[in-house]
Symmetry: C2
Subunit: 490 residues, 2 copies
């Protein structure tokens, strides 16, 4: 059937959409979400159909096309295209099977992942997949096949013969061990190509923090050469096409804050498998704000990661750490970057909790290579001798050094309402305050803890200082924050 093109003058981002008038849809027995093949000369593309309920947007006989479709078809406003009905992707059937409680095999999971990667599924269809995986659960073989499918629908890069990697499950503000572990491991002569994420719900991701020191959005070719030269990197994973289905799955998990365990495991392991890591250390912080609120939940996750690592022939070690309170002193990109540099410089005022956690983890990674018996001693030597700082400077230079953004100039000290010992610092409240202050978009915003867990305080002691980049945001946050907020003192 012939339709006249209407340029909708909108880009959708990825997904390929075509709109026809509801009268045409009725006549052709088409519904929103059905697939049509649109042809123009030798170009053709499968689109997801939307229906226009009014004649204003798309008239009868017209087809509204978005930027991405116009480009692929090389067609312009008012030209004529041919459309043909086509079936939904086969993966829709597999998603339906999962809803009905069936186990999916490797081919079925590959189909689904491939169609997600290439934007061939609607949000509704993707949501059914996530909901079904969440409620029905994914068995270990399914998680392994999903992991492989995520890897195989993206790039896989071999960096070196002995490649190390680490991952910390989120939920703990200030937990920036990556930026210490990478220079220590690279200084020890191993390869550690670390890709990190930006904050989604936290006040800073490793990528946001590293960006205060160096560029993190780099093309894959450049990353390869940095790693070859320095042994390591700390870059944003988004630019690398590693397991691209992962982010698209997260897009539909976010609206309901769904955390499907199978998808979490596949997501983490796919990134590691994509960079052909041999030795992987996973840090599961346990605490009420993390994905492992109880010891039982932490042990279960630990077991699952080990099992999947084994099946994927990676040497995986999983540690359970204290995730009940923030780590380091600063919360927010600049403040966290300052903590990291202080540790690397062996500054006596550097946060010792961050330093010791990073040394412990770097030590385990060194032991996993089989080359060191007492890894933490080696790690400490590398850090305290200044080798780690030199390596970090090499990496920053290779990635493109950036001037550290200024700390927010508007500050507010939050004081203690009583004397006593700090029993609890609430991760979620601390993170929320830092976000309201502007982090991570305002890099200089956040908060600096003066008092840490188990410290003794006097009434009116400053517990932490809030930093904001604008008067307005400081005003906003101080209106919400009462004294002692986030701290429990007794």
């Amino acid at each position: 059937m012939k339709f006249r093109v209407k340029d909708m003058d909108i880009a959708t981002g990825n997904i390929l959409i075509a709109i026809i008038n509801y009268k045409d849809a009725q006549r052709l027995d088409l519904r929103s979400g059905d697939r049509i093949l649109v042809k123009h000369n030798s170009h053709k593309v499968t689109c997801i159909l939307n229906i226009s309920e009014s004649d204003k947007a798309v008239k009868e006989g017209s087809i509204g096309l978005f930027e991405e479709v116009l480009d692929r078809l090389n067609v312009k406003d008012k030209q004529v295209v041919d459309i043909r009905l086509t079936d939904k992707p086969e993966s829709v059937k597999h998603i339906r099977d999962k809803l009905l409680g069936k186990h999916l095999n490797s081919q079925e999971l590959y189909h689904i992942t491939d169609d997600i990667t290439n934007d061939r599924l609607t949000d509704i269809e993707k949501t059914y997949f996530v909901a079904a995986s969440f409620i029905q659960g994914l068995r270990v073989p399914e998680i392994i096949e999903l992991t492989k499918a995520m890897v195989n629908t993206g790039s896989r890069i071999k960096f070196g013969n002995v490649t190390l990697d680490k991952h910390s499950i989120g939920g703990v503000p200030g937990n920036r061990t990556t930026m210490l572990i990478v220079p220590i491991i690279a200084a020890a002569g191993f390869t550690i190509p670390k890709t990190s994420s930006r904050a989604i719900t936290s006040p800073a991701g490793t990528a946001d923090t590293m960006e205060c020191l160096a560029k993190v959005e780099l093309p894959e070719r450049k990353i390869r050469s940095i790693v070859k030269k320095t042994g390591g990197c700390i870059v944003h994973g988004g630019s690398m096409n590693l397991a691209p289905a992962d982010d698209k799955i997260i897009d539909v998990e976010h609206p309901l804050s769904i955390d499907a365990e199978g998808q979490l495991l596949a997501s983490v392991m796919a990134k590691k498998y994509s960079v052909t890591a041999n030795h992987v250390l996973i840090d599961i912080p346990m605490g009420k704000s993390t994905k492992a609120p109880t010891r039982k939940a932490a042990h279960h996750l630990q077991k699952m990661f080990q099992l999947i690592g084994k099946k994927l022939k990676m040497n995986v070690r999983v540690i359970i750490t204290d995730g009940s309170h923030p780590i380091g002193n600063g919360i927010g990109p600049v403040l966290e970057a300052k903590d990291v540099m202080a540790v690397l410089r062996n500054d006596p005022l550097a946060p010792q909790d961050l330093k010791e956690k990073a040394l412990m983890m770097a030590g385990i990674l060194l032991e996993m290579t089989g080359k060191y018996k007492h890894g933490i001693t080696k790690a400490r030597e590398i850090l305290e001798s200044g080798k780690a700082l030199r390596k970090m400077k090499d990496i920053m230079r290779a990635q493109g050094k950036q001037k550290m953004p200024a700390l927010g100039e508007y500050t507010y000290p939050v004081k203690s309402t009583k004397s006593g010992k700090i029993q609890e610092i609430d991760n979620e409240i601390i993170a929320k305050i830092a976000r309201i202050a502007g982090a991570p978009q305002d890099k200089g915003a956040g908060l600096l803890l003066s008092k840490k867990i188990h410290d003794h305080v006097q009434k009116n002691d400053v517990l932490y200082t809030i930093y904001a980049e604008s008067k307005f945001k400081l005003h906003l946050v101080t209106k919400l924050v009462k004294e002692s907020k986030g701290y429990r003192i007794r």
Copy 2:
């Protein structure tokens, strides 16, 4: 925050959408699906946020608004609006609870249904609700509360003191008993305000078929006066605002052909409860193409309908009928309307299976009122005396009589490849052929069965004739249909 309006020149149908540039979204920490409150003078409206990934559609500092939002705000292109961040509706939390396996109470189900009715939920959020209800299941109290919520978020109409209603679960082509039962019951002096649906996946719905004889899209006021005058009506439910959430739930069920039992039960019962029916007869056709493929499934559905009817204080009878093959001779709106009129006229060539099923059902309904001991005898008397035909003509006149559309002029006879007895007629194949021929959009398209189940046929006997309104569609269908298609003869 102030934004400049861009008129997107698109209507979305219902849902209220606003688009901002990805840079503004990043700065404001907003994601697709978040809610924003848009204000202009004294008007305000909560919109679902979409993000424009390019500057072409919506520039920084601009906000793209769709027709529905522009109208409600009374704002024009280039004017300035104020936006404020707002939380997601509380119902999103309840949907999350359902995903986690919790049982929802009446208030929570009301919130969800109300937000669906008023287009306050995104497709992703609605899909999570359907997926969760489908997999976790809805308990009987939840189905009852969902039914009530569907009713209370729409109109409820009281027609008369004794109001009857019936419903046949779909899946059987030609099953047009409604158009016989309504005139019989109304002729007996009872009230039967029947609202019907159009075909979604079948070749004809009752509304499509009735539309060959009379108008079916009527305002509520008009329907009240028709029922008052004639005792009955056969109209399209879509124009009546009865349980409006139902259709919006079906919209997200359709892409995966999901049939969540809880939603099915609530959907049917809500329509009956909305017209304050006292006596309701439910017909569950059992057969491999229906929602009750096995006796066990049919009995389970029967039990559930009875239970829910009891809780809603409706007198509900549920019968299980033979749904393994088509009923009547014609498949498609005009052909089915002709069958109905032939039965009403007591034409000796009228399909006896359709007549007997309608009489049996009308008989049960008459008995349910308590006024008749042997209902079927009364029903037969009303039909065979011509009273039902006169009543049908009254109803048609009251709704607005329409000229019956012509039968498709392009025909093709499908013949038997062998002699023998007809063992099976496949509902799904027969329905598919009628749809490809053009039904229900082409009202004169469909097929007319010359041979029915258990008939003996000779080789080359015509089994059925395909009708199409255009040469092209007949060509299309005959290319797909081989001789004997849909029939099993032995």
